[in-house]
C-alpha cells in the first residue's frame, strides 16, 4: 500500500497554536484526540447526530466528527479543555455539577460547548429555547431535566443573580 500524503495542519486550540501532519481524511475529532491528546472531545456516533464531539470553530458551534482537520486550517478551535481555569471549574461546568446536568458524563463536553454558544448569544433563554438549541445533543442518562436546569442556573449566574443552591 502506498503511503498517504500528509498535510500540515496548524490550528489555534484554546488559544495555543498546535500543529501536526495528518492525512486529509483525519476528522477534526481525531486530530484533537489522537494528534493533540485532547481527549475531552468525545466521539459517539461519528455521523453528526449525537453531538458528543461538539466544539467551537471560529466561535461557532460545530461537529468535529463531520469536519476534516484540513478544512479548518488556521482556525480558532475551542474545546471543553478550554473552559476550566486550572482546577477551577468554568461557571457552566459548576452549574452542571450543582444541578445534576450529568450522570455518566460521556455527552457532557458537547452539552457544555453548546451551552457556552447558547449563552454567548442569549443570556436569558427560556426552557423551550434551551431545549431547541440543545436538540442536537443526545444524553442517554439524565432525561434532560437536569441539563435544562443547569443551563438556566448558568444563565442566572452569568447575569449576576444567585442560582439554585443544592
Amino acid at each position: 500500500m502506498t503511503c498517504e500524503q500528509l498535510h500540515h495542519v496548524s490550528l489555534i486550540v484554546n488559544g495555543v497554536e498546535r500543529s501536526a501532519a495528518v492525512p486529509a481524511r483525519t476528522l477534526l475529532s481525531d486530530f484533537l484526540r489522537h494528534e493533540l491528546g485532547l481527549f475531552g472531545t468525545h466521539v459517539g456516533c461519528e455521523q453528526g447526530v449525537c453531538g458528543a464531539c461538539t466544539v467551537l470553530i471560529g466561535g461557532r458551534l460545530a461537529r468535529s466528527c463531520t469536519t476534516f482537520a484540513v478544512q479548518v486550517q488556521g482556525e480558532e478551535i475551542r474545546t471543553v479543555e478550554g473552559l476550566a481555569n486550572g482546577d477551577e471549574l468554568h461557571p457552566i461546568q459548576e452549574s452542571f455539577r450543582r444541578c445534576h446536568g450529568l450522570q455518566c458524563g460521556f455527552c457532557t463536553p458537547g452539552f457544555l460547548m453548546a451551552t457556552e454558544a447558547l449563552l454567548s448569544e442569549n443570556d436569558d433563554p427560556s426552557d423551550s429555547e434551551i431545549r431547541d438549541f440543545l436538540s442536537g445533543n443526545v444524553c442517554r442518562c439524565t432525561g434532560y431535566v437536569g441539563i435544562v436546569a443547569s443551563v438556566k442556573d448558568a444563565a442566572l449566574r452569568a447575569r449576576g443573580v444567585n442560582g439554585s443552591d443544592q
Binding site: 498517504e4 481524511r25 461538539t54 463531520t66 484540513v70
Partner: protein
C-alpha cells in the same frame, strides 16, 4: 467509522476547482460544508478519490440582495442565510425553512449549495427553490449554464450536475410585489432537526383585491424528488386566501395527487395524508400573516 483516503485540494477560484475536477476525473467531488458528504464518507457509503474544498474561493461566502433578487454563492452557510436581515426581508421562505434544517452545529457549517447539490428528497431547501422559482447556476468546462430548480432535481440524490461541473450560485427571483407575497413552510419530523418525513413550501402572490394571482406549492419527502403540486396550485388561483372550503378541497386534491413511498419511518398512506394537511396548514399560515415583508416596508 473512518473515511477512505482521498486527495485533498483547496480551490483558489471556480476555474481552479473545475481544473481539479477535470484532472481528477469522475471520482472527484466538491466539498463545501461537508455536513451531508462527510457522514456518508465516514460510513464509506461515499468514497471519492479526491475532494475539492470550495469554501476558500474569494467571495464564495457572499449573499447578494438587489433588484434582481437574491444570489447565494457556493459557500454561503445555513446559519448566515438564516440570520441575514436582507434575506429575511426579500425571501423570508428561506429562513422559514432553514429553521428546520438540522441543528445549530450543523447549520453553522452546512451550505445552501452543498445541501442543494446533495439532493436528499427529504431536504428542505430543494422544495424551497421550487416554490420560489429559483435558478441554479452551474459552472463547467464549457462555461456557465442556468437550470431552473424544477429541472435540476432528477432522482434520489441525483441532480443535473455532471461530474466535471459545480453548483456555483443559487438565484432567487424577486417577488412581483413584495407587499402582496405570502410564504410558509411546514414539515413533520420525528424530532425537530431530524430529516423530514414530509413537508410543504408555499408561495402566494395576491392581487390588489386580496385574491390569489399566482400560487406555487411544493412538497418534500413525497417522492424521489421535491415536486410542484400543480393541480393544487391551479385550484388556488383567483380565490381569496381565507376561503375555508377551498382549503379543504386543496387538501383533498394534494392527498389524491401525491404518490409518496412508504418506509420504516412512515407508510405511504400516512405521507399522503400528512402532505395534504401540511399544504393546508401552510396556506392557513399565509392567510394569517398580514405580510411577511413588514420588516422591510
Amino acid at each position: 467509522m473512518k473515511p477512505e483516503s482521498f486527495s485533498f485540494y483547496v480551490a483558489e477560484s471556480t476555474q481552479h476547482a473545475l481544473d481539479i475536477l477535470a484532472q481528477e476525473g469522475d471520482d472527484s467531488k466538491i466539498l463545501a460544508g461537508g455536513q451531508s458528504l462527510i457522514p456518508l464518507m465516514n460510513f464509506r457509503l461515499a468514497r471519492p478519490a479526491a475532494l475539492v474544498d470550495v469554501c476558500h474561493i474569494p467571495g464564495s461566502e457572499r449573499i447578494t440582495v438587489d433588484n434582481a433578487g437574491v444570489r447565494f454563492r457556493c459557500s454561503v452557510r445555513h446559519r448566515d442565510a438564516l440570520h441575514s436581515n436582507e434575506v429575511n426581508a426579500v425571501a423570508p421562505l428561506v429562513g422559514q425553512a432553514l429553521k428546520w434544517v438540522g441543528h445549530e452545529a450543523i447549520r453553522s457549517r452546512g451550505t445552501l449549495c452543498g445541501s442543494t447539490a446533495h439532493a436528499d428528497p427529504a431536504a428542505e431547501l430543494p422544495a424551497v427553490w421550487l416554490a420560489l422559482g429559483a435558478e441554479m447556476v452551474i459552472s463547467g468546462p464549457h462555461g456557465e449554464r442556468h437550470v431552473p430548480a424544477e429541472s435540476f432535481f432528477k432522482s434520489f440524490f441525483t441532480t443535473d450536475l455532471n461530474a466535471d461541473e459545480m453548483l456555483t450560485e443559487i438565484r432567487v427571483p424577486p417577488a412581483p410585489d413584495p407587499s402582496l407575497r405570502r410564504t410558509a413552510f411546514q414539515e413533520i419530523a420525528r424530532r425537530h432537526g431530524d430529516f423530514a418525513i414530509v413537508g410543504a413550501a408555499v408561495v402566494i402572490d395576491l392581487d390588489g383585491s386580496g385574491r390569489i394571482a399566482a400560487a406555487r406549492v411544493s412538497a418534500l419527502g413525497a417522492g424521489e424528488v421535491p415536486m410542484r403540486l400543480r393541480s393544487a396550485e391551479a385550484m388556488l388561483v383567483g380565490s381569496p386566501l381565507d376561503d375555508q372550503e377551498l382549503l379543504e378541497n386543496v387538501e383533498a386534491e394534494v392527498r389524491k395527487s401525491v404518490q409518496p413511498p412508504g418506509d420504516s419511518h412512515a407508510s405511504a398512506r400516512y405521507r399522503k395524508k400528512v402532505t395534504g394537511t401540511l399544504v393546508r396548514r401552510s396556506l392557513a399560515e399565509c392567510a394569517e400573516t398580514p405580510s411577511t415583508y413588514e420588516g422591510m416596508l
